[in-house]
Amino acid sequence: MQNFIDAYSWVNLRFLLEGLWVTIYVSAISVVLSFIIGSILGLIRYVKIKYLSMIVGFIIDLIRNLPLLLIIFFMYFGLPSTFGIRLNTVTAAIVALTVFESAMLAEIIRSGIQSIGVGQMEAARSNGLTYLQAMWYIILPQAFRNMVPPIVSQFVSLVKDSSLATIILLPELMYHSQIIYGQNTNYMIPMFVALAFLYFVICFLLSRLSKRLARRLH
């Protein structure tokens, strides 16, 4: 018990919260970027532009089937050695997370749009809407409703996955906790409890939010 009290000293807690802030900050930027890029890629894959959609689809499949850890390594160690592009840890983490999650989101968005029956498009077109109007007013709003839960759970994965960036020494929550228990091994268990708690709170709140959002949209 004494270990817990010592481990949660003000200095340690502040250090953990600083890590939490980096986790949130990196995740938030990656969420926004990957949502934008993922939507564009998903749409390109859906509308079937000759060659382009095929190539985009193939790249999406490649990235989806690779471990995120590999992409992080590649961005941080691979880019400088071959292309001379040296990213700092925060940028490398954001780029890696964005690349990976964009591919995941693109797939969710494509299958979400595809789940809306062809009849909807035909009905809209025969009522005189153009393709883009039908897409914007009829298909996308319906598809978006179906997409909200998987998109948010992908965001939850993103927050969790950001912990992998410890390996390139991104000063996020996991890394900061490792520093603390590295100084005193008695702090291991309290630190893991704190880690589990903090990640759980963020992710659980996010998934609750998505449930509420989904209910409101229906």
Partner: protein, 217 residues
């Protein structure tokens, strides 16, 4: 990239063995755990339901790395002989089982309630109805997402690299740090991961398409 593949083939294959081994063990373990906890979540007993939901919610909302590190760093104090591979595989199993439980729950609940009622009113017990009526129907719905979970497992097993688990990612890092050909090494490692994951994920997409066209029972 080719030179890395040929020069370090034996290490890379060794790494793939560990990756596949860990993924398979974790798949079997998490299937068993996942089915048990899915049954808990949907069971008529209130306490079992609470235990099941708490388990699923906790492990779905904590990063795999935290779970695996816990088994690697904290658990060896209480359980001797827990090396990186074992700790990582246990972590993977527990983490994945929460997702599998959720997949099974959704699959079982997607079979209409009427099916259970009909089976029960025909004189079957709860367990009989589950075994003969609900689970066979749920299996078809559940298989594609389960396959995708397995693809995730193979990818997620790369956390073993954090724990000195000798998997493909770990071997790749060793090669990268000794040869300094980082890009080539990571491309080679990526290619080997794709060899393991791509066929499976295309198969699952095919099954999903095929079974979704069948009339639902």
């Amino acid at each position: 990239m080719i030179s890395i593949l040929t020069a370090h083939w034996s290490e890379l294959v060794e790494g793939m063995k560990y990756t596949i081994g860990s993924s398979l063990i974790a798949l079997i373990g998490s299937l068993i755990l996942g089915i048990i906890f899915a049954m808990f979540v949907i069971s008529p007993n209130r306490w079992l339901r609470i235990i099941g939901s708490v388990y699923v919610e906790i492990f779905r909302n904590i990063p795999l790395l935290v779970v695996a590190m816990f088994f690697y760093i904290v658990m060896p104090r209480f359980v001797p002989g827990l090396d990186g591979f074992k700790a990582g595989t246990i972590g993977l199993t527990i983490y994945t089982s929460a997702f599998i439980a959720e997949t099974f729950r959704a699959g079982i609940e997607s079979v209409a309630v009427g099916q259970m009622e009909a089976a029960r009113s025909n004189g079957m017990t709860y367990l009989q109805a589950m075994k003969y009526i609900i689970l066979p129907q749920a299996t078809k719905i559940v298989i594609p997402p389960l396959g995708n979970q397995f693809v995730n497992l193979v990818k997620n097993s790369s956390v073993l690299a954090f724990l000195a688990g000798f998997d493909l990612m770990y071997q790749g890092n060793l090669i990268a740090s000794t040869t300094f050909k980082t890009t080539d090494t990571y491309l080679a490692v990526g290619l080997l991961y794709l060899v393991m994951t791509m066929p499976l994920s295309y198969l699952m997409r095919y099954l999903e398409k095929r079974w979704s066209r069948l009339p639902t029972v």
